[in-house]
Symmetry: C2
Subunit: 400 residues, 2 copies
């Protein structure tokens, strides 16, 4: 045991971040081979700028707000005007009836998830996730001694399998995390799936005599294609907490602005609401960044240009079709989940990188070997340049 | 046991925040009696605006930075240009030789402290604090199962007593937290005190065979009076981590921008540096707000107008002197720690509030009964208006 580093941090140091490693690798390769000759599909960093109206809003807020209000402390839950504007925006869009009190401003969706863990989890409690999933969930869960229980992947649709889901729930299950639309598959859980999940969870709540919370991680809610509907989960299951971020819909991932939505229907909702501002405080965030709280509410009807991602999606699907790869057609997000022609996806990732300068993420990094994730939040021209090389990669595996 | 809320969060819900309660009370009283007739010294919210150059810097950064850089993800440790600028600024001011790598950008000093806990603390490990202290430290320590060990107050100087400090250290001690200048006493630990503390800690490190980290919480570093020197702790004790925030020196508490400084001299410093960006990530902050990271480095030589606080300090000392109160003369911060003429400081707080509309914080809220904290980050005119009432309060206790 280290004399300096805690046991939990030792584990994290040993694990590292596969995605981060790939990012560093990409930087190195671009230096060696030139920007034009590396095709980096590894990182989920939005490639379309924030709406110009957002920067205008920032400047307007800076120019017109008293310094104490602009940069000062407020309630740990956030500015009342921000919470109210967001509640109203949700009500208009989804026909809900949230009040200011239901919204706690957070340092992005990740912070909302960690705060939820702090509220709900005792050491040894279980939280269910569905593979493939964003691996940071494991770390959020283990921050407070929770145990991650993984429901195995269900290809080729990647909709959760209800029997496997039901089997994963135990006496110790306190929460279930989903992200819809899903990173890394790009699928959207439809209404029928959500209803089936709600049924499974309600039965389990009855059986075990305590609530099981559905944590809905929704940074990709607005990044959807072909008019697909993303069900608003508080309507389907009362013990739902929504973790939202403007990182993707507004291309503001670095600004760390989002919220935790706690509906009145949730069991002990008033105490969860009180606990959420305590959570933001005692985790050392204190509050979501003040300037961002004030600026975001001026542009709640604005989005980054999702058409750009749609164009990229089309180009990447064309490239994959021409190469002969099997993949899940993305209904949302800016990710495509591609089946590897060999079982060992890390071998495939290495070959793609070394022989064709194509960077993608191993499915194993999402607890789903046999697949790779292509992030198409990239320059369109890069996809066009990569297209022949993707074909060659397919050819190397006899796919074309 | 609640079926919803975790045991740790139940404890936090039950405790509440005395300071927050006082804030709500103040709002209510102002409504009832009028703004002019309530003298609220309860909250540590900076009352002097951020330097105008900071708002100019924000707008310049917004206008001149590409959206991907301005609002995008960067390394979890922060922008390299920000980390480098801060390292250079420290080197110029304190004759140190930090590199970019020694600086991890955080969501304020509180986040830096919580990240430090995540790095250093196993459940059951002990962290020492000196009463009176900012009670949130308890919560940061218990986030990961650490145990707070309190060294009793040492009035009237409130310098740590070395014998009591030495006696508090055990085999399980992993860290010691100080804030210098101190909230709530306003005292500054001088060089002799710091050297004595370093000696005690080095001896204990020898005895127990593992490092004991000194966590220096420094949001008030620049808020000092009469040219008092605040020792830069990495020079005195090698296992020091500095938790800094621009909240007070730049009046930006809502923006959540600060850093964790990890000197090369610290044991396993490279692994602590790696662990610090993991900590920022897995606690769900991901990174310090990007716009703030870019703006702050344009104004590292700027400060809020500390002269305003100095003027307030003088006015409040005059009021206390006229009233006959004993207090610790503040060398820094914007707090004054006043001895209550009765043992029960909560009784005093209630009397001050109910009979004289004077709001101050109970010393018990800082683990130091028998004292109260007056925050003088307030409107100067309020202090002038409060002066006769402070005198009446003293008179009620036979002090004048």
């Amino acid at each position: 045991m280290s004399k300096v580093i805690s046991v939990e941090m030792e584990r994290l140091l040993a694990t590292g971040s596969t995605l981060r490693a790939m990012f560093e690798e990409g930087k190195k390769m671009r230096k060696e081979f030139g920007d034009e000759n590396v095709y980096d599909f590894s990182l989920g960093n939005p490639s379309v700028p924030a709406p110009t109206e957002f920067n205008d809003a920032l400047k307007e807020v800076i120019d017109t707000t008293d310094s104490m209000m602009l940069h000062g402390y407020m309630s740990n839950a956030g500015y009342e005007i921000s919470r109210e504007a967001i509640a109203n925006d949700l009500n208009e869009r989804f026909g809900t009836s949230f009040r200011m009190e239901n919204v706690t401003m957070t340092v992005g969706a990740a912070n909302a998830l960690v705060v939820s863990m702090k509220i709900l989890i005792n050491p040894g409690d279980e939280v269910i996730v569905f593979a493939p999933f964003f691996l940071e969930y494991r770390n959020y869960i283990s921050d407070f001694g929770g145990v991650t229980v993984v429901v195995p992947p269900n290809p080729p649709t990647f909709m959760p399998d209800m029997e496997q889901f039901a089997a994963a729930i135990t006496e110790k299950t306190r929460a279930v995390i989903i992200d819809n639309p899903n990173n890394p598959t790009g699928v959207v859980y439809d209404e029928a799936t959500i209803c089936a999940m709600a049924n499974v969870m309600e039965e389990a709540e009855q059986k075990y005599g305590h609530p099981i919370f559905l944590l809905s991680d929704e940074p990709y809610r607005e990044i959807v294609y072909d008019q697909v509907e993303v069900p608003f989960l508080t309507k389907y299951y009362k013990n739902t907490l929504v973790c939202y971020s403007y990182s993707k819909s507004m291309s503001l991932p670095g600004e760390r602005i989002g919220y935790l939505l706690i509906p009145d229907e949730a069991e002990e909702s008033e105490r969860i609401i009180a606990a959420s501002s305590i959570g933001v405080r005692v985790l050392g965030c204190v509050n979501a960044p003040s300037l961002q709280q004030l600026a975001i509410i001026k542009v709640l009807d604005k989005r980054t240009d999702i058409g750009e991602y749609e164009k990229n999606r089309k180009a990447l699907m064309d490239a994959m079709d021409a190469a002969g790869f099997e993949y899940v057609k993305p209904q949302g997000t800016f990710y495509m989940f591609v089946k590897t022609p060999v079982e060992d996806d890390t071998e495939f990732v290495t070959k793609a990188k070394e022989d064709f300068h194509i960077l993608c993420s191993s499915g194993a990094a999402f607890d789903c070997p046999g697949y790779v994730r292509f992030a198409y939040c990239v320059d369109y021209d890069m996809i066009r340049r990569a297209t022949p090389h993707i074909k060659e990669l397919g050819h190397a595996y006899g796919l074309n």
